[in-house]
Amino acid sequence: MSATAETVQDRKAALKGLGTSRKRVEDARFTQGKGNYVDDIKLPDMLFGDFVRSQHAHARVISIDTSAAMALPGVVAVLTAADLEPLNLHWMPTLAGDKQMVLADGKVLFQGQEVAFVIAEDRYIAADAVDLVQVKYEELPVLVDPFKAELPDAPILREDIADAKEGAHGARRHPNHIFTWEQGDKPGTEAILSEAPVVAEEMVYYHRTHPCPMETCGSVASMDKVNGKLTLWGTFQAPHVVRTVASLLSGIAEHNIRVVSPDIGGGFGNKVGVYPGYVCSIVASIVTGKPVKWVEDRMENLSSTAFARDYWMNGKIAATEDGKILGLWCHTTADHGAFDACADPTKYPAGFMNICTGSYDIPTAYLAVDGIYTNKAPGGVAYRCSFRVTEAAYFIERMIEVLAIKLNMDAAELRAKNFIRKEQFPYQSALGWEYDSGDYHTAWNKALEAVGYKELREEQAKQVEEFKAGNTRKLMGIGLCHFTEIVGAGPVKNCDILGMGMFDSCEIRIHPTGSALARLGTISQGQGHATTFAQILATEIGISADDITIEEGDTDTAPYGLGTYGSRSTPVAGAATAMAGRKIRAKAQMIAAYLLEVHDNDIEWEVDRFVVKGAPERFKTMKEIAFASYTQAIPGVEPGLEAVSYYDPPNMTYPFGAYICVMDIDVDTGVSDVRKFYALDDCGTRINPMIIEGQVHGGLTEALAIAMGQEIAYDELGNIKTGTLMDFFIPTSWETPNYQTDFTETPSPHHPIGAKGVGESPNVGGVPAFSNAINDAFRAFGLTHTHMPHDHWRVWKTANKLGLHG
């Protein structure tokens, strides 16, 4: 018996399926510099495009003189809005129901905005020609503060829609106002706030930052005028949607457009949207009849492509005197920049900000979000998070701390007191979500125990005494965070992007010799899809992950899908993969029964084969079945072994985690040092623990960056102050602390394999943990809240205001 058991285990291990720390198959090429990115694409006669950009944040364009640029040898064309207008391509729709200028149409609205597109024989000539385009501007008053957008003297930014009383998301009350989005029970929440024994209030600002992927955005468009086909390679997180949009915009039939996302060097939300560069490269290729490449540089990426966050979240939280939360109120002022180019599902103009009740059982809540135009770059994308979930998690995890201060209560205890209990799942939140599963208390207690929370608090109290006695200039902060994510968008009934339901897909072909090819509607930007999707499939169909090729990103071959962002690949495309695998297995069962000369019901699945019940020596492996499906005439069964699944998720998934950060802070220099970071993640079923750990490390490091220094800052004239990597903080290995990872495993009840997604959790949970540590360090000295980023001078300023510098 034991020999048989061992064999089953061995066979299972050979599959390298679910739960295996399989090495990433992508890394062989990436570590050898053999990836193939957009800028690696070289086509015969390819031309290069480059942008003339506005140095002003708000100005009227008086004239554009392209003659000197056109006179430069090697310059093929210079496009302006006037050239795009006859094609109706001088403006383009955004994913948020707004429209955006492709090239400046009469005025510019942010520094770095695209004004003209130079096309030349090489990128060096193009750069020289950019300098030769003469643009005459008349400067206009600049609006950078969203709280001043509706003052009587505020300049009107969007003259094109100044009179529109209705926007894509309802009524507009001012030309600089985009939308108001309300969720929950306003009168009920206000009543609780007025009656509750304790109400804590705070303005929590989540500053503007940028995903800043290592590879910037770019595209290569190639219009074949002979066969009428357009091929577009680009840095697209959603290639199929780009194809549909390109077809709608250009009038080229969708079957004549092929969109390819090659290897992508990180996306983090920055590559979800459609950019003027993509449109211009397409138009330029149509105009010139030659392939045209556009690739932005780092400064262009930081200053003109999609930013993230920039939410001013005014919160009120009501509780009993012993710390039971009664209600939550939040009003957010959302700075969207010059165009509303958020990448959210259509019905959610503030994304899933209404997950802001977090991990807590809050009976009544109200959320309102006001979207505002300012003279800044457009965007508002989900930077390594599901739509606005990082903002929501930061908000509630700061409000919990603020409430703990008001109650003079331990913040860990306050959390535990208010967690949604295990038996409450599925849990209906006050702001409209149905949390699928969770076990917060178990995770929380495990985390507190792992770090020695009680001892840390004792040490912290001692250190405060030492500080007050003048024996040290360092303080210690303990940053707590228990976050709940909402990912895997999403159910088609309420989630769409530009009308496209947010399903995803997988198509599987089993080859005669028993290896397989699976294609998905998603696209990896570093997540390791080729590794993990093969593992899901290996477990489902009993073929080793090593014998399964995963392909994504070519719309001519891959099935339609909504792409990769918002931690949706595993919850949605991963589910499609499992479901397609089950279709394969169902057909394989019929074939196996025929081959074994028994009834379908008399055989059962065992790792990699169908076995006759009660006769384990009689079986057919998937490999044998695959061969038979192509070589034998099986009555009532079509030849071949293929399946396709389009998966419409019944619900979102709700990964969660407990993070604790211990920070040492020098109050004189403002320098802080992460002593310990413990991260417990529960992402449901774990597909590849090694990849999960890598995702957590990466996400935490981006969270560190955001919390401790990374920002897109503007001066009062709308000049971007942090437009290079000198000032825009990207941590190196030197700044990155050691992370201690851990997990619990609470499967999603509605996902075929119980997986929830993990790529973004560490950013969602990491930012509050780092920020709470800084805030917590100063709690003993009277601090309630200080804004991120917590760079040296701001931490110093906090200490200074508290009188800690004598």
């Binding site: 750069a127 300098d131 190196t732 110093w796 510098h805």
Partner: protein, 285 residues
């Protein structure tokens, strides 16, 4: 991020480089490691028509320590400074400083000559050179001259070097005693928020027999702090004298607001950094 057009020249000797510089005049720039000039050119803030690259001049790449005198060729890279044990014996503050400049990739290209000659107040080596009381050797059409590091810096990017001269060598006396270069920065690769170079010598009786203090990025030039230095030398090193010396040095600084923080913060941080740097140098003395 693409430079304008330029002609590239790679002379193989100093006279050849000087001749090119004289012939090409205002439109030419000398390039050493290029880590300041190339980014400036990519931003098109500088658009020289000619670049005279000194990398081909072998005589500018050397470290020589003899008879208590150190000579470093201008084209010696930061990585070579770090790697030289001979130099570490003679002036350990150089390695300590070079290790705090940028990152290894930059240090393989960046040179000491470029670092001191550019006149960027953010560069670290100028203050160290003032601390060491180094002399810069300049060669020009009229021959050779030397200028003390303490006299070299006039304003940001303005130095005593004439446009037709090339800084070819750095000389200073080997130093004894304690040393420290303390630097606060936001991250690897950043310029200093505040930095201090300190050399202190301790006599047999515990007195301070020599002191030298200089500061980085706290004004539009590096700052040699003569009064603070002599205060320590006259009064010995104690917590009180350190406080007075730091207070004296702080009177010299004129930091400006930037993304590293407002001037008031920098003043505070500078005092903290200088204090800890003096303490460390004295502990090593």
């Amino acid at each position: 991020m693409i430079t304008g057009n330029f002609e590239y020249h790679q002379p193989s000797s100093v006279p050849e480089a000087l001749a090119l510089l004289s012939d090409l005049g205002d439109e030419a720039r000398v390039i050493a490691g290029g880590h300041s000039l190339i980014p400036t050119m990519k931003l098109r803030l500088a658009m020289p028509e000619h670049l005279i690259d000194l990398q081909g001049i072998k005589e500018l790449k050397n470290i020589d320590v003899s008879n208590g005198e150190v000579r470093i060729g201008a084209m010696t890279t930061q990585a070579e400074l770090i790697g030289s044990d001979e130099l570490f014996q003679a002036a350990p503050i150089i390695r300590e400083t070079a290790l705090q400049i940028a990152d290894p990739q930059v240090r393989y290209m960046g040179t000491i000559g470029g670092n001191v000659a550019n006149g960027d107040p953010g560069n670290d080596m100028p203050a160290v050179m003032q601390c060491l009381d180094a002399t810069f050797l300049l060669q020009g059409p009229d021959g050779e001259r030397s200028v003390a590091a303490r006299e070299f810096y006039e304003a940001a990017y303005f130095t005593a070097r004439d446009e037709l001269e090339i800084l070819t060598e750095i000389r200073f006396s080997a130093c004894e005693g304690g040393y420290s270069y303390g630097k606060q920065k936001r991250k690897i690769g950043d310029y200093a928020t505040a930095a201090a170079a300190v050399l202190l010598t301790k006599g047999a009786d515990g007195s301070c027999t020599a002191a030298s203090i200089a500061l980085t990025n706290l004004a539009d030039t590096p700052l040699y702090c003569a009064d603070a230095s002599s205060h320590l030398q006259s009064n010995g090193v104690s917590e009180d004298s350190i406080a007075s010396a730091v207070a004296s040095a702080m009177e010299q600084i004129e930091p400006v607001d930037d993304n590293r923080g407002p001037a008031e913060f920098k003043k505070h941080a500078a005092a903290i950094i200088l204090t800890s740097t003096i303490r460390q140098a004295w502990a090593r003395a």
